[in-house]
Symmetry: C2
């Protein structure tokens, strides 16, 4: 890995446009988020897509994979077919500066187990996830010592929410002596649920009367029927969302004061409500007031998850180059704009 | 200095409430911002006010100064009178983990010269400023090698704007492939201009027909007359504000695409407009959209400048403990909520 080079990149904003110091990134998952990551990385000078893997198989090309090859295809279609692609990525992991985990996470253990696999096989680069559930993020924090010993710099909860909005809350908190509450209300619109199967399935698991196991066992037809019954719209309240754990870990506010909910329209790319983070606090001079961070309605979930995730990847590469390892939450480190 | 202890604090959110590891902070300046800093630091477990200095003199008490002693008083009234208080702070600087520079900055050289003085006399802790003008911030960046060699971790432009809003812009940028523009429009209300003489004087320097020299040479009566002519309200456009330099330095957007303006009411603590940062960009999928960060109207300039400045002080203490020195802009590091 080219740690020194990554560090040097940071020190200079007028970088050589022909530089070959782009960090090699492996993307785990090739659903909506994984494919968006492939497209975004292809447009970045500081990163290249060196591998992508999902349940169909994997492709590795350390010179950079052209995302057009993946258009309407799966990794197994253009690379090697296997039902154990993650193990193949782990075997080749010395080639990757960073791993972005964009896999569905229907059981809490799934991603922590994969991460342990990387550490156990000697991987010592950067890892970033876009996990959403509090329990899964807590399990990742439980790997802090293991990842620190392995020399892995890991950033968890590094998507949109948790992620971009959590980090905005952490910054907003600085105006206040005491944070009274954080309220995140998201709007998501997708043209059809099939493009974000795993995400929508996980959203269904948060509905009243559902849980992770039940959602995981539903057939696609059952998901479709459930969505039909709700006119394609999911109203979510008091979700188990790791913004709470991440803000508590950063010392900003205790878990129970963080509320996350939202509205998901599975039939319309237009957002049903503007995604807003509202942080309410008390200032040193006694005023109670709220700072708000509002995402532009035209920005998609993919843009708001993957862009920040790669921003945290860059931050992680910088920390790693400085020898700073272990697990960090997205409310503890600032994502760094990737050139 | 207690670097190891500061670092340890970061690793634990369940800190010993009786710990004596509070970082010793010296505040330079005892105007509106300096006095707010004294009050805020007094309420924080992780910091203590070890010194405060202005043109009247200075007080040093490494066990912590009670800010009530300063109520309606100046440092020279309760400590030692001298017209060279900064030199006295420099002489004692080995006692301070961090220095917050809250001095008026009517010439661009003033604060960079003070910083050079600290480095020249062997200070090797953390320094944070709330400078506003682009040229002054650029001069601080010019000290990077000197401060790096001295072992000083310095964060510049670390107030509200530049500062809190610049950092929010840097985070918001991650959703986009390209940032088209950043627009900062602030509203400030102060009950009377006398509480924020230096700040209001600097704002007047930005008005058409005025400059820094002219504003610096105005008598208080002339300032009052100018404010009377404008019914106490200053409309500011296209200000020379370091948000531009800081965002360019962080690789996010070129200087000329950052616009800063605002409305200052010098007779009413209520804000005439809500302070808003709007970042417009183009996403990977071609959408043009804007994220916004809006400050609560009830939060004062003091809360929004000093809270974040101390947040960057904590971030600087963490970096310093890890041996990371030199100059950083407020768009490159995340401020860390101070307990």
């Amino acid at each position: 890995m080219k740690h020194r080079q990554v560090l040097e990149m940071r020190k200079s904003t007028n970088r050589d446009p022909t530089n070959n110091h782009a960090a090699s990134i492996a993307v785990l998952g090739a659903g909506g988020l994984g494919m968006a990551a492939a497209k975004i990385i292809a447009k970045k000078k500081e990163m290249k897509l060196a591998a992508i893997a999902d349940k169909t198989g994997y492709v590795i090309d350390i010179d950079g994979i052209d995302p057009e090859l993946l258009e309407n295809k799966k990794p197994g279609d253009i690379g090697k077919r296997t039902d154990d692609a993650i193990s193949e990525i782990i075997k080749s992991s010395e080639n990757f500066d960073g791993i972005f985990i964009a896999l569905p996470n229907l059981t809490n253990r799934f991603i922590p187990d994969i991460v342990s696999g990387f550490a156990g096989q000697g991987y010592n680069g950067v890892m970033v996830d876009a996990l959403k559930r509090s329990q899964a993020v807590e399990m990742i924090f439980g790997l802090d010592n293991m990842l620190n010993d392995a020399g892995i710099t890991y950033i968890t909860g590094a998507g949109a929410t948790p992620g971009l909005l959590t980090c905005a809350a952490a910054i907003a908190a600085n105006s206040f002596m005491e944070v009274i509450g954080v309220d995140i209300n998201f709007g998501v619109g997708v043209a059809n649920w099939e493009s974000y199967r795993a995400t929508i399935r996980e959203d269904i698991a948060h509905l009243e009367g559902f849980n992770l196991e039940k959602a995981a066992n539903m057939t696609c037809a059952e998901i479709k029927e459930e969505l039909d019954n709700r006119n394609g719209i999911l109203h979510l309240h008091n979700m188990e969302h790791a913004d709470d754990v991440l803000l508590e870990k950063a010392g900003i506010v205790s878990c129970e004061k963080v509320k996350v909910g939202g509205v998901v329209d599975t039939r319309n790319p237009r957002k049903p409500v503007s995604t807003t983070m509202t942080l309410t606090g008390r200032t040193f001079d006694g005023a109670v007031s709220s700072h708000r961070f509002i995402l532009g309605d035209e920005t998609t979930m993919a843009a708001n998850v993957v862009g920040p995730a790669l921003g945290w990847m860059k931050a992680g590469l910088e920390f790693h180059a400085r020898g700073i390892y272990g697990v960090f939450g997205s409310a503890e480190i600032m994502p760094r704009f990737v050139l």
